[in-house]
Symmetry: C2
Subunit: 275 residues, 2 copies
Protein backbone atom coordinates (compact mmCIF):
# COMPACT_ATOMS: atom_id res chain seq x y z
CA UNK A 1 0.00 0.00 0.00
CA UNK A 2 1.98 2.98 -1.28
CA UNK A 3 1.05 6.30 0.24
CA UNK A 4 0.47 9.22 -2.06
CA UNK A 5 0.08 12.81 -1.07
CA UNK A 6 -2.66 14.99 -2.52
CA UNK A 7 -0.74 15.62 -5.74
CA UNK A 8 -0.22 11.91 -6.37
CA UNK A 9 3.45 11.89 -5.41
CA UNK A 10 4.48 8.41 -4.38
CA UNK A 11 5.75 8.14 -0.84
CA UNK A 12 7.87 5.27 0.43
CA UNK A 13 6.18 2.22 1.86
CA UNK A 14 6.45 2.52 5.62
CA UNK A 15 4.24 -0.22 6.96
CA UNK A 16 6.66 -3.14 6.95
CA UNK A 17 5.49 -6.19 5.06
CA UNK A 18 2.25 -7.78 6.19
CA UNK A 19 2.52 -10.60 3.67
CA UNK A 20 -0.81 -10.74 1.92
CA UNK A 21 -1.89 -7.10 1.75
CA UNK A 22 -3.13 -6.02 -1.65
CA UNK A 23 -0.66 -4.20 -3.87
CA UNK A 24 -1.35 -2.33 -7.08
CA UNK A 25 0.59 -2.74 -10.34
CA UNK A 26 2.43 0.45 -11.38
CA UNK A 27 1.58 2.32 -14.60
CA UNK A 28 3.52 1.17 -17.70
CA UNK A 29 3.44 4.50 -19.53
CA UNK A 30 3.54 8.08 -18.25
CA UNK A 31 0.30 9.23 -16.67
CA UNK A 32 -1.01 12.38 -18.37
CA UNK A 33 -2.21 15.46 -16.57
CA UNK A 34 -3.59 13.94 -13.41
CA UNK A 35 -4.12 17.10 -11.40
CA UNK A 36 -6.39 16.47 -8.47
CA UNK A 37 -7.96 18.59 -5.75
CA UNK A 38 -5.56 19.78 -3.06
CA UNK A 39 -5.96 18.58 0.52
CA UNK A 40 -7.55 21.94 1.35
CA UNK A 41 -10.06 21.53 -1.48
CA UNK A 42 -10.82 17.92 -0.53
CA UNK A 43 -11.38 19.04 3.05
CA UNK A 44 -13.71 21.86 2.02
CA UNK A 45 -15.70 19.43 -0.13
CA UNK A 46 -16.11 16.90 2.69
CA UNK A 47 -17.05 19.58 5.21
CA UNK A 48 -19.66 20.98 2.80
CA UNK A 49 -21.13 17.51 2.19
CA UNK A 50 -22.90 17.04 5.52
CA UNK A 51 -24.07 18.81 8.69
CA UNK A 52 -22.89 16.46 11.44
CA UNK A 53 -19.52 15.78 13.00
CA UNK A 54 -17.83 14.95 16.25
CA UNK A 55 -16.32 17.66 18.39
CA UNK A 56 -13.29 17.09 20.59
CA UNK A 57 -13.02 19.42 23.57
CA UNK A 58 -11.19 19.41 26.90
CA UNK A 59 -12.87 18.61 30.21
CA UNK A 60 -11.99 20.56 33.33
CA UNK A 61 -9.33 17.90 33.99
CA UNK A 62 -7.87 18.40 30.52
CA UNK A 63 -9.20 15.05 29.32
CA UNK A 64 -10.30 14.74 25.70
CA UNK A 65 -14.09 14.66 25.25
CA UNK A 66 -15.70 13.49 22.01
CA UNK A 67 -19.31 14.48 21.35
CA UNK A 68 -21.72 14.47 18.44
CA UNK A 69 -22.62 17.90 17.02
CA UNK A 70 -24.43 19.50 14.11
CA UNK A 71 -22.92 22.43 12.25
CA UNK A 72 -23.49 25.05 9.60
CA UNK A 73 -20.72 26.83 7.70
CA UNK A 74 -19.43 30.40 7.54
CA UNK A 75 -16.99 30.05 4.67
CA UNK A 76 -15.22 26.88 5.76
CA UNK A 77 -15.63 27.53 9.49
CA UNK A 78 -18.03 25.20 11.32
CA UNK A 79 -20.73 27.04 13.25
CA UNK A 80 -21.96 25.10 16.28
CA UNK A 81 -24.98 25.70 18.47
CA UNK A 82 -24.53 23.93 21.78
CA UNK A 83 -26.11 24.08 25.21
CA UNK A 84 -24.01 25.64 27.94
CA UNK A 85 -25.43 22.92 30.17
CA UNK A 86 -24.03 20.12 28.01
CA UNK A 87 -20.55 18.85 28.73
CA UNK A 88 -19.09 20.11 25.43
CA UNK A 89 -20.67 23.54 26.03
CA UNK A 90 -19.10 23.78 29.47
CA UNK A 91 -15.80 22.57 28.04
CA UNK A 92 -15.69 25.23 25.32
CA UNK A 93 -16.55 27.95 27.82
CA UNK A 94 -13.57 27.03 29.99
CA UNK A 95 -11.05 26.14 27.23
CA UNK A 96 -11.71 27.13 23.60
CA UNK A 97 -9.32 24.61 22.06
CA UNK A 98 -11.35 22.27 19.89
CA UNK A 99 -11.30 20.09 16.83
CA UNK A 100 -14.02 18.52 14.77
CA UNK A 101 -13.94 15.30 12.75
CA UNK A 102 -16.26 15.12 9.76
CA UNK A 103 -16.84 12.03 7.63
CA UNK A 104 -18.15 12.21 4.07
CA UNK A 105 -21.44 10.38 3.58
CA UNK A 106 -20.64 6.72 3.12
CA UNK A 107 -20.45 5.44 -0.45
CA UNK A 108 -18.53 2.19 0.11
CA UNK A 109 -19.09 -0.68 2.50
CA UNK A 110 -15.56 -0.38 3.93
CA UNK A 111 -15.74 2.59 6.35
CA UNK A 112 -12.01 3.33 6.04
CA UNK A 113 -12.45 3.92 2.30
CA UNK A 114 -14.50 7.04 3.11
CA UNK A 115 -13.07 10.52 3.04
CA UNK A 116 -12.81 12.31 6.37
CA UNK A 117 -11.20 15.39 7.81
CA UNK A 118 -10.14 16.85 11.13
CA UNK A 119 -10.30 20.63 11.56
CA UNK A 120 -8.42 21.87 14.62
CA UNK A 121 -8.34 25.33 16.12
CA UNK A 122 -10.12 27.55 18.60
CA UNK A 123 -13.83 27.98 19.18
CA UNK A 124 -15.00 31.55 19.53
CA UNK A 125 -18.37 33.09 20.28
CA UNK A 126 -19.02 35.48 17.39
CA UNK A 127 -20.43 38.95 18.03
CA UNK A 128 -22.33 41.61 16.13
CA UNK A 129 -22.78 41.04 12.40
CA UNK A 130 -20.81 37.82 12.54
CA UNK A 131 -23.14 36.42 15.19
CA UNK A 132 -26.13 37.12 12.96
CA UNK A 133 -24.40 35.52 9.98
CA UNK A 134 -23.31 32.53 12.08
CA UNK A 135 -26.83 32.06 13.43
CA UNK A 136 -28.24 32.14 9.88
CA UNK A 137 -25.57 29.71 8.68
CA UNK A 138 -26.40 27.24 11.43
CA UNK A 139 -30.14 27.49 10.81
CA UNK A 140 -29.64 27.03 7.06
CA UNK A 141 -27.84 23.75 7.68
CA UNK A 142 -29.76 22.43 10.72
CA UNK A 143 -33.48 23.09 10.30
CA UNK A 144 -34.45 21.77 13.75
CA UNK A 145 -32.18 24.32 15.43
CA UNK A 146 -34.98 26.87 15.12
CA UNK A 147 -36.55 25.13 18.11
CA UNK A 148 -33.61 25.73 20.46
CA UNK A 149 -31.11 28.21 19.00
CA UNK A 150 -32.77 31.05 20.96
CA UNK A 151 -32.99 29.20 24.27
CA UNK A 152 -31.09 31.19 26.84
CA UNK A 153 -28.69 28.34 27.55
CA UNK A 154 -27.66 27.76 23.93
CA UNK A 155 -24.65 29.51 22.42
CA UNK A 156 -23.36 29.83 18.90
CA UNK A 157 -19.66 29.08 18.40
CA UNK A 158 -17.46 29.45 15.33
CA UNK A 159 -14.47 27.14 15.04
CA UNK A 160 -11.48 29.18 13.82
CA UNK A 161 -9.60 26.54 11.82
CA UNK A 162 -5.84 26.61 12.34
CA UNK A 163 -4.89 23.19 11.00
CA UNK A 164 -6.48 20.57 8.75
CA UNK A 165 -5.83 16.86 8.32
CA UNK A 166 -7.51 15.20 5.38
CA UNK A 167 -7.73 11.44 4.73
CA UNK A 168 -9.19 10.51 1.36
CA UNK A 169 -9.41 6.79 2.02
CA UNK A 170 -6.63 4.20 1.91
CA UNK A 171 -3.26 5.73 1.16
CA UNK A 172 -4.50 9.23 0.29
CA UNK A 173 -3.91 11.78 3.02
CA UNK A 174 -2.33 15.16 3.57
CA UNK A 175 -2.36 18.20 5.83
CA UNK A 176 -3.31 21.79 5.06
CA UNK A 177 -2.92 25.07 6.86
CA UNK A 178 -5.89 27.04 8.10
CA UNK A 179 -5.10 29.71 5.49
CA UNK A 180 -5.08 27.21 2.60
CA UNK A 181 -8.31 25.72 3.90
CA UNK A 182 -9.96 29.14 4.13
CA UNK A 183 -8.85 30.07 0.60
CA UNK A 184 -10.01 26.80 -1.00
CA UNK A 185 -13.49 26.10 -2.31
CA UNK A 186 -15.62 22.98 -2.12
CA UNK A 187 -15.58 21.04 -5.37
CA UNK A 188 -18.56 22.00 -7.56
CA UNK A 189 -18.70 18.60 -9.27
CA UNK A 190 -18.14 15.91 -6.61
CA UNK A 191 -21.34 16.37 -4.58
CA UNK A 192 -23.55 16.00 -7.67
CA UNK A 193 -21.48 13.44 -9.57
CA UNK A 194 -23.15 10.15 -8.56
CA UNK A 195 -25.59 10.08 -11.48
CA UNK A 196 -22.96 11.05 -14.03
CA UNK A 197 -20.57 8.36 -12.74
CA UNK A 198 -23.31 5.76 -12.96
CA UNK A 199 -24.04 6.83 -16.55
CA UNK A 200 -20.35 6.69 -17.53
CA UNK A 201 -19.99 3.19 -16.09
CA UNK A 202 -23.25 1.89 -17.57
CA UNK A 203 -23.01 3.36 -21.07
CA UNK A 204 -19.41 4.40 -21.74
CA UNK A 205 -17.25 1.53 -20.49
CA UNK A 206 -15.29 1.53 -23.76
CA UNK A 207 -14.42 5.20 -23.40
CA UNK A 208 -13.25 4.68 -19.81
CA UNK A 209 -11.06 1.77 -20.94
CA UNK A 210 -9.60 3.94 -23.70
CA UNK A 211 -8.90 6.74 -21.18
CA UNK A 212 -7.09 4.33 -18.85
CA UNK A 213 -5.04 2.87 -21.72
CA UNK A 214 -3.88 6.05 -23.43
CA UNK A 215 -4.06 8.76 -20.76
CA UNK A 216 -3.99 6.88 -17.46
CA UNK A 217 -0.73 4.97 -17.85
CA UNK A 218 -2.25 1.48 -18.15
CA UNK A 219 -2.06 0.35 -21.82
CA UNK A 220 -2.87 -3.19 -20.62
CA UNK A 221 -6.26 -2.15 -19.18
CA UNK A 222 -8.95 -4.79 -19.73
CA UNK A 223 -11.70 -2.83 -17.94
CA UNK A 224 -12.01 0.55 -16.23
CA UNK A 225 -14.62 1.86 -13.80
CA UNK A 226 -15.07 5.51 -12.88
CA UNK A 227 -14.98 5.86 -9.07
CA UNK A 228 -15.02 9.63 -8.72
CA UNK A 229 -15.33 12.92 -10.56
CA UNK A 230 -14.23 16.40 -9.55
CA UNK A 231 -13.42 19.71 -11.19
CA UNK A 232 -10.05 18.40 -12.42
CA UNK A 233 -10.79 14.97 -13.82
CA UNK A 234 -11.97 11.42 -13.21
CA UNK A 235 -10.76 8.72 -10.83
CA UNK A 236 -10.55 5.31 -12.48
CA UNK A 237 -10.26 1.79 -11.08
CA UNK A 238 -8.38 -0.18 -13.69
CA UNK A 239 -8.30 -3.94 -14.18
CA UNK A 240 -5.23 -5.43 -15.85
CA UNK A 241 -3.78 -8.92 -16.06
CA UNK A 242 -1.26 -7.64 -13.50
CA UNK A 243 -3.99 -6.78 -10.98
CA UNK A 244 -6.22 -3.86 -10.00
CA UNK A 245 -4.87 -0.31 -9.98
CA UNK A 246 -6.19 3.21 -9.46
CA UNK A 247 -5.37 6.13 -11.73
CA UNK A 248 -6.62 9.56 -12.81
CA UNK A 249 -7.37 11.22 -16.10
CA UNK A 250 -7.54 15.01 -16.26
CA UNK A 251 -9.82 17.22 -18.35
CA UNK A 252 -8.27 19.62 -20.85
CA UNK A 253 -8.81 22.32 -18.20
CA UNK A 254 -10.41 22.43 -14.74
CA UNK A 255 -14.16 23.05 -14.90
CA UNK A 256 -16.08 25.55 -12.83
CA UNK A 257 -19.46 23.91 -12.52
CA UNK A 258 -21.25 20.60 -12.68
CA UNK A 259 -22.85 21.60 -15.97
CA UNK A 260 -19.45 21.48 -17.66
CA UNK A 261 -18.84 17.84 -16.68
CA UNK A 262 -20.48 16.32 -19.73
CA UNK A 263 -18.47 18.40 -22.20
CA UNK A 264 -15.24 17.71 -20.32
CA UNK A 265 -15.76 13.92 -20.34
CA UNK A 266 -16.71 13.93 -24.05
CA UNK A 267 -13.45 15.76 -24.76
CA UNK A 268 -11.54 13.25 -22.59
CA UNK A 269 -13.06 10.32 -24.49
CA UNK A 270 -12.20 11.87 -27.85
CA UNK A 271 -8.64 12.57 -26.77
CA UNK A 272 -8.28 9.03 -25.38
CA UNK A 273 -9.35 7.49 -28.73
CA UNK A 274 -6.87 9.72 -30.61
CA UNK A 275 -4.08 8.71 -28.25
Amino acid sequence: MALRDSRGTRRPRDHGDPGDAPSAPPPLTPVGDAARPSAAEEARTIVASTNTGTLATLTEDGDPWASFVTYGLLGGSPVLCVSNLAEHGRNLASDPRASIAIVAPKTESDPLASGRVTLAGMAERPAGDELAAARDAHLAAVAAAKYYIDYSDFSVWVLRVHRVRWVGGYGRMDSATGADYAAAEPDPVTPRSAGAIEHLNADHADSLTAMARTLGGYPDTTAAVCTGADRYGLDLRVTTDRGIAYTRVGYAAPIGSYDELRGATVELARRARQG
Copy 2:
Protein backbone atom coordinates in the same frame (compact mmCIF):
# COMPACT_ATOMS: atom_id res chain seq x y z
CA MET B 1 -38.96 20.53 26.23
CA ALA B 2 -38.91 18.70 29.56
CA LEU B 3 -35.85 16.62 30.25
CA ARG B 4 -36.29 13.09 31.45
CA ASP B 5 -33.61 10.87 32.83
CA SER B 6 -33.29 7.26 31.78
CA ARG B 7 -36.06 6.10 34.09
CA GLY B 8 -38.50 8.65 32.73
CA THR B 9 -38.34 10.95 35.74
CA ARG B 10 -39.34 14.44 34.77
CA ARG B 11 -36.66 17.05 35.31
CA PRO B 12 -37.30 20.78 35.50
CA ARG B 13 -37.30 22.85 32.36
CA ASP B 14 -33.99 24.66 32.29
CA HIS B 15 -33.82 26.22 28.87
CA GLY B 16 -35.64 29.50 29.48
CA ASP B 17 -38.56 30.11 27.19
CA PRO B 18 -37.84 30.21 23.46
CA GLY B 19 -41.42 31.12 22.58
CA ASP B 20 -42.45 28.70 19.87
CA ALA B 21 -40.58 25.53 20.77
CA PRO B 22 -42.73 22.41 20.66
CA SER B 23 -44.11 21.22 23.97
CA ALA B 24 -45.81 17.94 24.71
CA PRO B 25 -49.12 17.55 26.56
CA PRO B 26 -48.78 15.65 29.86
CA PRO B 27 -50.49 12.30 30.45
CA LEU B 28 -54.03 12.50 31.91
CA THR B 29 -53.97 9.15 33.72
CA PRO B 30 -51.16 7.27 35.43
CA VAL B 31 -48.69 5.68 33.04
CA GLY B 32 -48.42 1.93 33.69
CA ASP B 33 -45.18 0.04 34.00
CA ALA B 34 -42.99 2.04 31.67
CA ALA B 35 -39.65 0.55 32.60
CA ARG B 36 -37.08 1.38 30.00
CA PRO B 37 -33.46 0.47 29.39
CA SER B 38 -30.97 2.16 31.73
CA ALA B 39 -28.45 4.64 30.36
CA ALA B 40 -25.82 1.89 30.59
CA GLU B 41 -28.01 -0.49 28.58
CA GLU B 42 -28.84 2.19 26.01
CA ALA B 43 -25.15 2.93 25.66
CA ARG B 44 -24.25 -0.74 25.21
CA THR B 45 -26.95 -1.08 22.54
CA ILE B 46 -25.71 1.95 20.58
CA VAL B 47 -22.08 0.86 20.84
CA ALA B 48 -23.01 -2.63 19.58
CA SER B 49 -24.99 -1.20 16.64
CA THR B 50 -22.08 -0.04 14.49
CA ASN B 51 -18.30 -0.28 14.01
CA THR B 52 -17.30 3.36 13.51
CA GLY B 53 -16.87 6.27 15.87
CA THR B 54 -14.78 9.33 16.49
CA LEU B 55 -11.87 9.23 18.90
CA ALA B 56 -10.79 12.23 20.94
CA THR B 57 -7.13 12.21 21.98
CA LEU B 58 -4.59 14.79 23.14
CA THR B 59 -1.88 16.21 20.89
CA GLU B 60 1.59 16.82 22.27
CA ASP B 61 0.41 20.36 23.11
CA GLY B 62 -2.56 18.98 25.03
CA ASP B 63 -5.01 20.09 22.34
CA PRO B 64 -8.06 17.94 21.69
CA TRP B 65 -7.86 15.90 18.47
CA ALA B 66 -10.93 14.32 16.90
CA SER B 67 -10.41 11.51 14.37
CA PHE B 68 -12.50 8.86 12.66
CA VAL B 69 -11.89 5.27 13.80
CA THR B 70 -13.28 1.79 13.39
CA TYR B 71 -13.69 -0.50 16.38
CA GLY B 72 -14.57 -3.97 17.54
CA LEU B 73 -15.77 -4.84 21.04
CA LEU B 74 -14.39 -6.83 23.97
CA GLY B 75 -17.42 -6.81 26.22
CA GLY B 76 -18.33 -3.15 25.99
CA SER B 77 -14.77 -1.93 25.53
CA PRO B 78 -13.94 -0.54 22.09
CA VAL B 79 -10.93 -2.20 20.46
CA LEU B 80 -9.09 0.10 18.07
CA CYS B 81 -6.42 -0.70 15.52
CA VAL B 82 -4.52 2.45 14.62
CA SER B 83 -1.26 3.30 12.92
CA ASN B 84 1.50 4.59 15.19
CA LEU B 85 2.31 6.96 12.32
CA ALA B 86 -1.14 8.55 12.37
CA GLU B 87 -1.74 11.53 14.62
CA HIS B 88 -4.19 9.67 16.90
CA GLY B 89 -1.73 6.77 17.21
CA ARG B 90 1.07 9.10 18.24
CA ASN B 91 -1.31 10.86 20.64
CA LEU B 92 -2.35 7.63 22.41
CA ALA B 93 1.27 6.55 22.75
CA SER B 94 2.16 9.76 24.57
CA ASP B 95 -1.06 10.24 26.61
CA PRO B 96 -3.56 7.38 26.98
CA ARG B 97 -6.50 9.58 27.95
CA ALA B 98 -9.17 9.15 25.30
CA SER B 99 -12.87 9.17 24.61
CA ILE B 100 -14.94 7.91 21.74
CA ALA B 101 -18.25 9.23 20.43
CA ILE B 102 -20.50 6.71 18.71
CA VAL B 103 -23.74 7.55 16.90
CA ALA B 104 -26.48 4.98 16.29
CA PRO B 105 -27.24 4.42 12.61
CA LYS B 106 -29.57 7.20 11.51
CA THR B 107 -33.27 6.41 11.47
CA GLU B 108 -34.71 9.94 11.41
CA SER B 109 -33.98 12.93 9.20
CA ASP B 110 -33.18 15.16 12.19
CA PRO B 111 -29.64 14.18 13.25
CA LEU B 112 -30.16 15.32 16.85
CA ALA B 113 -33.00 12.80 17.22
CA SER B 114 -30.44 9.97 16.93
CA GLY B 115 -29.04 8.16 19.93
CA ARG B 116 -25.37 8.68 20.65
CA VAL B 117 -22.89 8.01 23.39
CA THR B 118 -19.53 9.18 24.65
CA LEU B 119 -17.27 6.63 26.36
CA ALA B 120 -14.37 8.21 28.22
CA GLY B 121 -11.41 6.55 29.85
CA MET B 122 -7.90 5.35 29.16
CA ALA B 123 -6.57 3.51 26.13
CA GLU B 124 -4.32 0.57 26.88
CA ARG B 125 -2.36 -1.80 24.67
CA PRO B 126 -3.55 -5.27 25.68
CA ALA B 127 -1.06 -8.10 26.13
CA GLY B 128 -1.07 -11.87 26.06
CA ASP B 129 -4.45 -13.58 25.87
CA GLU B 130 -6.24 -10.26 25.92
CA LEU B 131 -4.28 -9.07 22.89
CA ALA B 132 -5.33 -12.17 20.96
CA ALA B 133 -8.96 -11.68 21.99
CA ALA B 134 -8.82 -7.96 21.16
CA ARG B 135 -7.30 -8.67 17.75
CA ASP B 136 -10.05 -11.21 17.02
CA ALA B 137 -12.72 -8.78 18.21
CA HIS B 138 -11.45 -6.03 15.93
CA LEU B 139 -11.22 -8.36 12.93
CA ALA B 140 -14.73 -9.68 13.58
CA ALA B 141 -16.13 -6.14 13.39
CA VAL B 142 -13.86 -4.63 10.72
CA ALA B 143 -13.26 -7.12 7.91
CA ALA B 144 -10.80 -4.94 6.00
CA ALA B 145 -8.50 -4.80 9.03
CA LYS B 146 -7.04 -8.12 7.95
CA TYR B 147 -5.05 -6.15 5.37
CA TYR B 148 -3.26 -3.96 7.91
CA ILE B 149 -3.69 -5.23 11.47
CA ASP B 150 -0.35 -7.08 11.24
CA TYR B 151 1.59 -4.18 9.73
CA SER B 152 4.46 -3.39 12.06
CA ASP B 153 3.26 0.19 12.59
CA PHE B 154 -0.29 -0.71 13.62
CA SER B 155 -1.23 -1.25 17.25
CA VAL B 156 -4.30 -2.63 18.95
CA TRP B 157 -5.70 -0.52 21.79
CA VAL B 158 -8.52 -1.26 24.24
CA LEU B 159 -10.41 1.71 25.66
CA ARG B 160 -10.95 1.11 29.40
CA VAL B 161 -14.26 2.89 29.91
CA HIS B 162 -14.43 4.96 33.11
CA ARG B 163 -17.40 7.17 32.34
CA VAL B 164 -20.36 7.12 29.95
CA ARG B 165 -22.64 9.86 28.69
CA TRP B 166 -25.69 8.73 26.75
CA VAL B 167 -28.04 10.96 24.75
CA GLY B 168 -31.13 9.22 23.43
CA GLY B 169 -32.34 12.12 21.30
CA TYR B 170 -34.15 15.26 22.37
CA GLY B 171 -34.60 15.44 26.12
CA ARG B 172 -33.45 11.90 26.90
CA MET B 173 -29.97 11.75 28.39
CA ASP B 174 -28.12 10.38 31.37
CA SER B 175 -24.71 9.35 32.61
CA ALA B 176 -23.45 5.94 33.70
CA THR B 177 -20.36 4.71 35.48
CA GLY B 178 -17.84 2.49 33.77
CA ALA B 179 -18.88 -0.34 36.10
CA ASP B 180 -22.58 -0.01 35.20
CA TYR B 181 -21.66 0.11 31.54
CA ALA B 182 -19.51 -3.01 31.82
CA ALA B 183 -22.25 -4.90 33.66
CA ALA B 184 -25.03 -3.95 31.22
CA GLU B 185 -25.91 -5.83 28.05
CA PRO B 186 -26.90 -4.56 24.61
CA ASP B 187 -30.64 -4.80 24.05
CA PRO B 188 -31.54 -8.04 22.25
CA VAL B 189 -34.64 -6.55 20.61
CA THR B 190 -33.76 -3.03 19.42
CA PRO B 191 -31.28 -3.88 16.66
CA ARG B 192 -33.72 -6.25 14.96
CA SER B 193 -36.93 -4.35 15.66
CA ALA B 194 -37.39 -2.31 12.46
CA GLY B 195 -39.50 -4.91 10.68
CA ALA B 196 -41.66 -5.60 13.72
CA ILE B 197 -42.27 -1.88 14.27
CA GLU B 198 -43.26 -1.46 10.62
CA HIS B 199 -45.69 -4.38 10.97
CA LEU B 200 -47.22 -2.97 14.17
CA ASN B 201 -47.74 0.42 12.56
CA ALA B 202 -49.10 -0.98 9.29
CA ASP B 203 -51.42 -3.67 10.64
CA HIS B 204 -52.09 -3.00 14.32
CA ALA B 205 -52.76 0.73 14.59
CA ASP B 206 -55.91 0.04 16.66
CA SER B 207 -53.95 -1.97 19.20
CA LEU B 208 -51.34 0.76 19.52
CA THR B 209 -54.07 3.35 20.07
CA ALA B 210 -55.64 1.13 22.75
CA MET B 211 -52.24 0.74 24.45
CA ALA B 212 -51.71 4.49 24.53
CA ARG B 213 -55.24 5.09 25.89
CA THR B 214 -55.35 2.53 28.67
CA LEU B 215 -51.70 1.84 29.55
CA GLY B 216 -49.82 4.89 28.29
CA GLY B 217 -51.62 7.64 30.18
CA TYR B 218 -53.31 9.26 27.18
CA PRO B 219 -57.03 8.32 27.18
CA ASP B 220 -57.57 11.04 24.57
CA THR B 221 -55.29 9.37 22.02
CA THR B 222 -56.59 9.67 18.47
CA ALA B 223 -53.64 7.84 16.87
CA ALA B 224 -50.49 6.12 18.11
CA VAL B 225 -47.34 5.13 16.24
CA CYS B 226 -44.69 2.76 17.58
CA THR B 227 -41.29 4.47 17.38
CA GLY B 228 -39.14 1.94 19.21
CA ALA B 229 -39.06 -1.49 20.80
CA ASP B 230 -36.70 -2.93 23.36
CA ARG B 231 -36.62 -5.71 25.91
CA TYR B 232 -38.89 -3.77 28.31
CA GLY B 233 -41.62 -2.37 26.08
CA LEU B 234 -42.62 -0.10 23.23
CA ASP B 235 -42.10 3.62 22.63
CA LEU B 236 -45.20 5.32 21.30
CA ARG B 237 -45.75 8.67 19.64
CA VAL B 238 -49.27 9.69 20.56
CA THR B 239 -51.53 12.16 18.78
CA THR B 240 -54.20 13.89 20.87
CA ASP B 241 -56.31 17.00 20.39
CA ARG B 242 -53.92 18.57 22.91
CA GLY B 243 -50.89 17.91 20.70
CA ILE B 244 -48.25 15.22 20.12
CA ALA B 245 -46.74 13.35 23.07
CA TYR B 246 -44.37 10.47 23.64
CA THR B 247 -45.03 7.64 26.07
CA ARG B 248 -44.08 4.04 26.84
CA VAL B 249 -45.96 0.83 27.41
CA GLY B 250 -44.24 -2.05 29.17
CA TYR B 251 -44.56 -5.77 28.59
CA ALA B 252 -45.80 -8.00 31.40
CA ALA B 253 -42.13 -8.87 32.00
CA PRO B 254 -38.85 -8.01 30.26
CA ILE B 255 -38.05 -10.34 27.39
CA GLY B 256 -34.74 -12.01 26.75
CA SER B 257 -34.71 -12.35 22.99
CA TYR B 258 -36.15 -10.92 19.81
CA ASP B 259 -38.21 -14.07 19.32
CA GLU B 260 -40.29 -13.17 22.38
CA LEU B 261 -41.31 -9.78 20.96
CA ARG B 262 -44.39 -11.02 19.13
CA GLY B 263 -45.84 -12.76 22.18
CA ALA B 264 -45.11 -9.77 24.40
CA THR B 265 -46.88 -7.32 22.07
CA VAL B 266 -49.88 -9.64 21.69
CA GLU B 267 -50.15 -9.72 25.48
CA LEU B 268 -49.84 -5.92 25.61
CA ALA B 269 -52.64 -5.51 23.07
CA ARG B 270 -54.91 -7.90 24.98
CA ARG B 271 -54.22 -6.12 28.26
CA ALA B 272 -54.84 -2.71 26.62
CA ARG B 273 -58.25 -3.81 25.33
CA GLN B 274 -59.18 -5.15 28.77
CA GLY B 275 -58.11 -1.87 30.36
